[in-house]
C-alpha cells in the first residue's frame, strides 16, 4: 500500500500537510532546535506565499526567540534571495518557509547555514538529533532577543549579484518581449521588477499576486504551463518564464509556446556560465549527457552526484564548480551568485544568450547536443528493492555500473538510472540515448527486468 507522507522530517528539513501534520507545535520545536544549533545571533526568516506561511512563521519566530536568537523577518521572498541575504548580513543561519513545488496544503522548513546554503547531511543529522533530544536552549527574559523587519534590501542585493554576471546593456538594448507566470508565488514580489526595471523587458505577466492561491499545479512542467504558453503565443513573446512558488526553479517556454525540457534549460545555463567563469560542472546522475558534451567543448570536467540539491551543492563547494544543477528538477545553481538554485540567474543567462547570439530560444535549443530521454515509475513491495536492482544489473553485464544513488548503468551512447523515491515506495526509471529507437529499446528492456 502506498504510504502518503503527510509529515516528513528528513533530508531537506521538515515538510508536511499544515496544520494537521506539520503542526505549529512541531514547527516551534524544530525552530528552537535550529536556534539551539546555530547559536545566539541573527536568523533570517522568510517564506513563499502559501496561506499557512504567516501562521508557521509565528511559530518559527517563537522557537527562535525562545532559543535566544534574534529574528530578521524578510517576509515573502524567493528562497535564493533569502539565502543570499543570510550570507550578506552574516546571520547565524536562515529558515525559509516553503514547500517549493509541493501542493498548497503542504509547507516546509528549509534550513540554511551561515553561508546561506542548505544544511549538509552532517549538519542535518546533528540538528535532527538535537530535535529528538529536545535539549534546547531556553532563553530567559534577559536573553530573549528581538524581531526586526528587513527594509527591502534583500531583493536589491540578489538582483545586483545576478546583473554583475551578465552583459546588462546588451540585454537592455534588445528590449525583449517576455511572458511570466509566477504562480502567485514568492517570485511575484520580485520578478516583474527584475525583468522590467533591471533588464528593460516588455513584460506580460500572469499569476503575480502574492495574496492569491496558486492558480496551477505548483510544479512548472509542460502539462501545467498551458496558460503561459498561450500568453506567449498571444503576445508574441520571445520567451516565457515560469517559476515555482519559492522561485528557485525555472521553466522556459520558447517563442512557439513549447515548454523546454528542464535538461535543456540547464544545458543552456551551463553554456553561458562556462563562457564567463572557470571551474568544473556538477550535476546529478539523472542529468542529461548533453552536459558532458558542453563541458568537453570548454575543456571542463563533470562531476555526478546523487539526486538532491543538497548533494549537488556539497560537491560543487568541494570542487569549486563553475555551475551545477539537476536537469530533471529545473534548477540552475551558479555559485558566483549564490550556491543555490536560482531562477533569476537562469532567466538572466537565457536572455544574455539570446542577446549575444541573436538567436531565438528554439534555435538555441536546436543547437544543443541532442538526446532522447524517457522516464517512468515502477511500484515495488517492501523488501523487494534490492532484488530488482540486482536483476537490472545482471540483465546488462556489459554496462558500467554506478551505485552511488540507486543504480545507474552506462554505455558510451546511453544510460539508464533507477532509484527509489524518498517519499513513496516507487522506483523512478530514467533512460537517455542518442536516438528515439535506442531510448525506447533500453527503456522497454529495463522495464521488463524490473517488473519480471
Amino acid at each position: 500500500m502506498p504510504r502518503e507522507h503527510l509529515l516528513k522530517i528528513g533530508v531537506s528539513g521538515v515538510r508536511g500537510v499544515v496544520p494537521e501534520f506539520l503542526t505549529p507545535s512541531l514547527t516551534l520545536h524544530f525552530a528552537q532546535a535550529f536556534g539551539t544549533y546555530v547559536g545566539r545571533g541573527r536568523v533570517v526568516v522568510g517564506r513563499d506565499t502559501r496561506l499557512s506561511g504567516p501562521m508557521l512563521q509565528h511559530a518559527v519566530n517563537c522557537g527562535l526567540l525562545a532559543a535566544g536568537c534574534d529574528v530578521v523577518d524578510v517576509g515573502i521572498l524567493p528562497t535564493p534571495t533569502i539565502q543570499i541575504y543570510v550570507e550578506h548580513i552574516r546571520a547565524r543561519g536562515g529558515i525559509g518557509l516553503t514547500a517549493s513545488h509541493n501542493p498548497p496544503e503542504y509547507n516546509a522548513l528549509k534550513l540554511f547555514n551561515k553561508e546561506g546554503q542548505f544544511f549538509n547531511q552532517y549538519e542535518r543529522n546533528e540538528l535532527i538529533d538535537l530535535y529528538h533530544q529536545s535539549d534546547f536552549t531556553q532563553a530567559t527574559n534577559a536573553e530573549i532577543g528581538y524581531v526586526t523587519t528587513d527594509p527591502g534590501l534583500a531583493k536589491a542585493i540578489h538582483i545586483d549579484r545576478v546583473l554583475a554576471k551578465v552583459d546588462v546593456d546588451r540585454i537592455r538594448r534588445r528590449h525583449f518581449r517576455v511572458a511570466l507566470d509566477a504562480v502567485n508565488g514568492a517570485g511575484s514580489v520580485m520578478t516583474p521588477g527584475f525583468l522590467v526595471d533591471s533588464l528593460n523587458c516588455r513584460l506580460d505577466a500572469i499569476a503575480i499576486d502574492p495574496t492569491k492561491v496558486f492558480p496551477r499545479i505548483a510544479e512548472p512542467r509542460p502539462d501545467t504551463l498551458g496558460e503561459l504558453a498561450a500568453l506567449v503565443l498571444k503576445t508574441g513573446a520571445e520567451v516565457g518564464f515560469a517559476q515555482d512558488p519559492d522561485a528557485d526553479r525555472l521553466a522556459i517556454v520558447d517563442e512557439n509556446g513549447r515548454v523546454l525540457d528542464n535538461d535543456d534549460v540547464l544545458a543552456l545555463a551551463v553554456q553561458r556560465a562556462l563562457a564567463v567563469v572557470p571551474g568544473p560542472v556538477v550535476v546529478n546522475l539523472t542529468t542529461s549527457s548533453a552536459i558532458d558534451d558542453i563541458a568537453l567543448a570548454f575543456g571542463r570536467k563533470v562531476y555526478r552526484t546523487p539526486v538532491g540539491e543538497a548533494n549537488v551543492v556539497e560537491t560543487m563547494q568541494a570542487v569549486k564548480a563553475a555551475i551545477g544543477g539537476e536537469g530533471s528538477a529545473g534548477g540552475v545553481i551558479f555559485p558566483a551568485v549564490q550556491l543555490c538554485r536560482d531562477s533569476f540567474t537562469a532567466m538572466a543567462f537565457l536572455l544574455d544568450l539570446m542577446a549575444e547570439s541573436g538567436k531565438t530560444v528554439s534555435e538555441l535549443v536546436a543547437a544543443l547536443p541532442q538526446y532522447v530521454r524517457k522516464s517512468g515509475k515502477v511500484a515495488f513491495a517492501h523488501g523487494r528493492l534490492g532484488g530488482l536492482m540486482q536483476a537490472l544489473e545482471e540483465g546488462f553485464p556489459e554496462a558500467e555500473a554506478d551505485r552511488s544513488d540507486g543504480l545507474k548503468l552506462l554505455w558510451p551512447d546511453r544510460w539508464v538510472h533507477v532509484r527509489a523515491s524518498n517519499t513513496e515506495p516507487i522506483l523512478r526509471v530514467f533512460v537517455e540515448a542518442k536516438t528515439e529507437e535506442a531510448a525506447e529499446k533500453l527503456y522497454a528492456t529495463s522495464w521488463g527486468l524490473l517488473t519480471a
Partner: protein
C-alpha cells in the same frame, strides 16, 4: 518556591519563569487549547505587557490561534484591563493577555479571558485544562487558517470607558505622583495626560522589557520606599504605584506614608456603597474586617468566599451586577461593576481620586475616618499531609469563635479573627490575623507556633 522553575498550570492559567520552567512549547500548546476551547471561527484579542519574553510568547500564541482558525486582533503592548475592555466592545470569542503582572521580569504568564472580557469560570477553566492535557487541538484546514490584524485604537477606547464613569477633567486640581514600574500604566497615563490635562507626575515611566526599576510589588512598603520621599517636595496630593500590568495598585498619602494594600478595598467599598447603599461586597476570607464596618455604615453586607480570583468570579456569577457594590481582595485588587468586574488599578486610582474630590479630603484624611485595624501575616513551610491535622487541632483550640471552613480555617470574634490556609502556589501555610486597635501579637505567635509544630 524560590529556586524552583515556577511553572504553574492551573485554573488561573499558565505562568512561570521563562526558560526555567515556562517554555515556548507550553505557551503555544496552551494557546492552542484555548483556541480549541472557545467558539470556532471568531476572532481572539491578544495583548501583552512589555516583558522581552512577551514577544516570544506572543508569536507562539498567534501561531496557535491562527492554526485553530481564529483571526487574531493584536492590541500590542497594553495592560490586561485594556484587553478586557476591548473584548467588551468587540464581537470576539475571547482573549489572551500575556503578562506576569506583579511578578519579577523573568516571569511571564498567559491569562485567558472570555468573550466579554471576563475571567473564565471554574468550570470553563477546568475544561481548558483538560484540552491542554489531552493535547487534542482543533486545527482547521490550510485554507481556513486565521489571519492577524493590529488594532491601535484599544488604548483610547479604554480611556473613553474610564472617562464615561469618572469625571476626569474634574481631577485636574490634584497633583498625583505615579510610579509606573516601567509597565503599561505609563502608556495609559501619558495618554490620559494628553487628553485631559491631569497633573500626573510619572516616574519609572520608560516602558521596559528586561530590567524594571524595582520589583513590581504593590505593597505599602514598596510605595513608601519609591514615592515617600517625593510626595511633600512635589506638593502631591496622592501617590500611586502600579505593577507592570497596572491591574494592581498601591497608594501613598500626601505625607508620603505608604498605605496598607488592605485599605484599597474598604476605601472603594465605601465609595461604591455611598452611591448604592445596601449592596453586597464580595471578598475573601483573608481580607480586613474593616469591610464589615464600612458595609454596616451603608446598610450593605459582606460576602466572604475562599481566596483566589476563581472563587470571587463564581460568587459574582450568583448575583446580578446591580446587586454588587464591589469585589476584591486584601492585596489591593478591586473589581467594580461599572467596568464589568475586572481588576484594574487605573480604575481604582481614579475612584480614589474621585472620592477625595467629592468629599473634599486628602487621602490621609479619608483614611483617618476609619477605625484602626492591625493585621499580621506569616507563613510556615508545611508538608501537605500534615495540613488536616493542624486544622483540626486549631478547630479544637478555638471553640468559642465563629467558624468558617470553606478555605482552610477562619475563626472570628467581634474584634478579631484569624485565617489559616494552604497557599495555591507554594507548599506553605499562610497565617493571617487581625484585630481592631493594637496588633494581635499573642494570637499570631500562638498560631505560628502551632503551625511550626507540624512542620
Amino acid at each position: 518556591m524560590r529556586g524552583d522553575s515556577g511553572l504553574r498550570i492551573s485554573h488561573v492559567g499558565l505562568r512561570g519563569i521563562v526558560g526555567r520552567g515556562l517554555t515556548a512549547g507550553h505557551i503555544l500548546d496552551f494557546a492552542a487549547a484555548f483556541g480549541t476551547f472557545i467558539e470556532p471561527g471568531r476572532p481572539v484579542v491578544v495583548g501583552r505587557d512589555p516583558r522581552a519574553s512577551g514577544r516570544m510568547a506572543w508569536e507562539g500564541v498567534v501561531s496557535a490561534l491562527m492554526a485553530c482558525g481564529h483571526e487574531v486582533i493584536d492590541l500590542g503592548v497594553v495592560s490586561t484591563p485594556v484587553v478586557q475592555h476591548a473584548l467588551q466592545r468587540l464581537d470576539a470569542a475571547g482573549g489572551i493577555a500575556i503578562s506576569a503582572s506583579h511578578n519579577t521580569a523573568d516571569w511571564n504568564a498567559l491569562r485567558f479571558l472570555g468573550p466579554r472580557g471576563t475571567y473564565l469560570s471554574t468550570a470553563e477553566a477546568g475544561e481548558l485544562l483538560d484540552i491542554y492535557h489531552l493535547r487534542k487541538f482543533r486545527f482547521v484546514a490550510w485554507d481556513q487558517l486565521g489571519g492577524q490584524r493590529f488594532d491601535a485604537g484599544a488604548l483610547d477606547r479604554y480611556i473613553d470607558d474610564l472617562a464615561a464613569v469618572f469625571d476626569l477633567p474634574s481631577l485636574r486640581d490634584f497633583r498625583v505622583v505615579v510610579d509606573c514600574c516601567n509597565g503599561t500604566s505609563a502608556l495609559i497615563l501619558r495618554r490620559v495626560i494628553e487628553r485631559y490635562g491631569l497633573d500626573l507626575v510619572l516616574i519609572n515611566e520608560r516602558v521596559e522589557g528586561v530590567q524594571f526599576a524595582h520589583e513590581p510589588t504593590t505593597s505599602a512598603r514598596m510605595v513608601e520606599l519609591q514615592l515617600g520621599p517625593l510626595m511633600r517636595p512635589l506638593g502631591a496630593h496622592a501617590g500611586f504605584l502600579f505593577d507592570v500590568d497596572s491591574d494592581r495598585v498601591a497608594m501613598a498619602d500626601e505625607q508620603g506614608r505608604g498605605v496598607s494594600e488592605e485599605m484599597m478595598l474598604p476605601l472603594l467599598a465605601d465609595h461604591q456603597l455611598s452611591r448604592g447603599p445596601g449592596k453586597i461586597v464580595i471578598t475573601n476570607l483573608s481580607s480586613s474586617a474593616l469591610l464589615e464596618d464600612v458595609a454596616v455604615r451603608h446598610g450593605g453586607r459582606v460576602l466572604r468566599v475562599p481566596v483566589g480570583r476563581q472563587a470571587a468570579m463564581d460568587a459574582l456569577a450568583a448575583y446580578r451586577p446591580e446587586q454588587i457594590a464591589v469585589a476584591g481582595e486584601g492585596t489591593g485588587a478591586v473589581m467594580m461593576p461599572q467596568f464589568r468586574f475586572i481588576y484594574d488599578g487605573i480604575a481604582s486610582m481614579f475612584a480614589v481620586l474621585t472620592m477625595m474630590k467629592e468629599r473634599g479630603r486628602t487621602l490621609g484624611q479619608l483614611l483617618a475616618d476609619y477605625p484602626q485595624y492591625s493585621i499580621l501575616k506569616g507563613e510556615v513551610r508545611l508538608e501537605s499531609p500534615r495540613v488536616p491535622e493542624l486544622l483540626l487541632d486549631l478547630l479544637a483550640s478555638y471553640p468559642d469563635g465563629r467558624i468558617d471552613r470553606t478555605d482552610g480555617l477562619r475563626v472570628s470574634w467581634p474584634d478579631r479573627w484569624f485565617h489559616v490556609r494552604v497557599s495555591h502556589t507554594e507548599p506553605i501555610i499562610r497565617v493571617i490575623c487581625e484585630q481592631r486597635g493594637a496588633p494581635p501579637q499573642e494570637l499570631f505567635e500562638t498560631l505560628m507556633d502551632k503551625a511550626r509544630s507540624y512542620s
